[in-house]
Assembly symmetry: C2
Amino acid sequence: MQKEFIEIKQLYRNKEQYIDKTVRVAGWIRTSRMSKNFGFIELNDGSFFKNMQIVIDEKLENFKEVGKLPISTSLLIEGTLVATQNAKQPVEIQATKIVVEGESDNSYPLQKKRHTVEYLRTIAHLRPRSNLFSAAFRVRSVAAYAIHKFFQDRNFVYAHSPIITGSDCEGAGEMFRITTLDLNNIPKTEEGKIDYSQDFFGKEANLTVSGQLNAEIMALAFRNVYTFGPTFRAENSYTGRHASEFWMIEPEIAFADLEDNMELAEDMIKYIINYVLENCPEEMEFFNSFVDKGLLERLHKIVNSEFTRITYTKAIELLLESGQKFEYPVEWGCDLQTEHERYITEQIFNAPVFVTDYPKEIKAFYMRMNEDGKTVRAMDLLVPGVGEIIGGSQREERYDVLMDRIKECGLNEEDYWWYLELRKYGTATHSGFGLGFERIIMYLTGISNIRDVIPFPRTPKNAEF
Amino acid sequence: MQKEFIEIKQLYRNKEQYIDKTVRVAGWIRTSRMSKNFGFIELNDGSFFKNMQIVIDEKLENFKEVGKLPISTSLLIEGTLVATQNAKQPVEIQATKIVVEGESDNSYPLQKKRHTVEYLRTIAHLRPRSNLFSAAFRVRSVAAYAIHKFFQDRNFVYAHSPIITGSDCEGAGEMFRITTLDLNNIPKTEEGKIDYSQDFFGKEANLTVSGQLNAEIMALAFRNVYTFGPTFRAENSYTGRHASEFWMIEPEIAFADLEDNMELAEDMIKYIINYVLENCPEEMEFFNSFVDKGLLERLHKIVNSEFTRITYTKAIELLLESGQKFEYPVEWGCDLQTEHERYITEQIFNAPVFVTDYPKEIKAFYMRMNEDGKTVRAMDLLVPGVGEIIGGSQREERYDVLMDRIKECGLNEEDYWWYLELRKYGTATHSGFGLGFERIIMYLTGISNIRDVIPFPRTPKNAEF
């Protein structure tokens, strides 16, 4: 039956083909306005951000019934597509037949009046039917595809890194434990410790915080790879920027140094923005009008700018010279806070900036040590309005140096046996970075809370739907 | 630096452009053969299934050193691309300069001799460098992209269903518990029960077994959606067909019945196969020669066949009429076993077969009840060589009927409040199905063990790498 009902998107995009012809559509009532003898229904069928206006009048057999239907009722409609004089709504359907597929109810919570996003989160099963969330989740889908297309067009292999992991190798944060042990009756060893040998995987297991180490395995076989999958943080963080479950993209490239890495990141960011601007014009217009007035200007500026590259040491100098007062004082060795990052990208450069070569103390063990023995070949990409959006590095490819760093960081070298072996059997210069998928969606839409760019967000004390 | 090194894939695909020119490549030694005055290195750079033959001779400054390098050493090579008389290897590089990027070691475990797949699983960090696994994981990547492309070209929204879930709504199998409670000191309520209010999500939380119910939310907002993400089963199953962590594709379509659903499934399967045949010809040739001799013939046949559609009742009749003896006896009401499924698709039809309208007792509560009150609008797709590869249904869209089924199945209606509300606020005929991603990769490659189509498989007692 579905093919009988043409998508409203098609009726807008290819209207010449359908004007003055009989068409059938199926969708949900967003709003309706009724007079005595005629009325208008704004119908949305989910295929397109915009509604189709359905004109009904007394000639319609069930005119009276249809006029009283509650919002969100689903309808099957037959009628004639006609051109209008209205540029914003260049076509409408004069209905000749309407079948009620599923009548809604006046208790429908998404009435026309404005709701808070906080309230809408409590009805995550209905909010995708609102303008804001239909736009957000479509942009999310299109951006995800842009990412796959960007990498696949460049012959990257999409590598699925594991979700369940036997160790916290990266130490990137608090992890969720996975178990099938009976929590009412946890088996113990003779020494009184938890007997994980009886657990499902025969040892402690957690949800992954990053697929990077696995991606390195793949890059050293396939040259260029990327991951795109869910990652997790069991942090009791209630900010609008943190979720317990989020998706990450982690490209990893072999025979490639930090310069290649930055070039890839810049190309990717620009590609995603361009792709979404091109493929979601109605949604982006909506965000620009109702969420963030400067959005389109900012995004167009980004895709047309050269990203700046400076070292961490230079960034510290510039911050100190600026005379600006910060909540967190600036000195060489400090981790850059969001206030510092935003000052650099917004005030100093007014453009995206790669900051490179951070002090080793504030970066991970696997980043390549520079000749100075003090800094590592890390890079963070800072963008106006957000701060850090990408973090990456050239990886330490030298067996001995890596081993020293593992020991220096107090890590257990046995946990890294295979990671070390990658440096033993044909090591190669390689680099990679991580992009939080939700961060880029927030950046693309202007939406400020991460809970509103994830269909069913997971945060502390919240795993509904 | 990476752009200096052209991908070997390019040198094969666009060889006319490069013949007799100086080129630079970077890759790993797969094998080498040395004579006194010259030698051959088979170099693989990961960009392509096939190796590039590197010809070296005494004119090379470090000829002697290079000749002795162990397998898997990484090299940076400059030389001239020259045409050969060998159709299988139409080009080779006459090296003028070779830099050793990372010397390997004679203890490298992936020597030329044949290894068992069981052994290779223990070196999952190196096996992607073998022919079998480089082919398997590239096909995996290309098939994943084919799936995204298929749906996005058709205006489907990619919906991320949650990985962490607050309830086992589908009851599809044993689940993994997620917790941040201290297992050495589990908090208890006054009644002595586990105090999940102190757990991270404030209640029991598990890893998802299916994104379907969430996908239904999205389909009733966007018309056509699909999920593509990891799902989990905590089943102590040691077969070659089951993993604890695997990826699923779950399309869900609104204003669409079971016929639409079957059409979509058929189109999708054919699209994936065609896309992989077209984009991975070398890999597919390899599988056909070394893994499954009938593979290409079978796949070509599938894409050119019409899939048959029969009811479960008819299938039972045909099985009974066949006179074939089965391990599990056949009678109306029984669940079809793999032996039955394969007999139907291989012996009776010798083609893919949709079996529809199963007894309600052996299918899930959400499938649409038929008028007979005994069967539901389910469909399974059976394919030769495998049996069931897709399972789906038209969903019960009638509030009252769904409520009755929830009660009949002994489920708790409060757990389904939002799922029921979808039927209250503008319900619509809708349908969907699930495809196990690894199943289709096994089908595409002929690889018989699921552990060998997942880069880092998770199975009972195994969460290495």
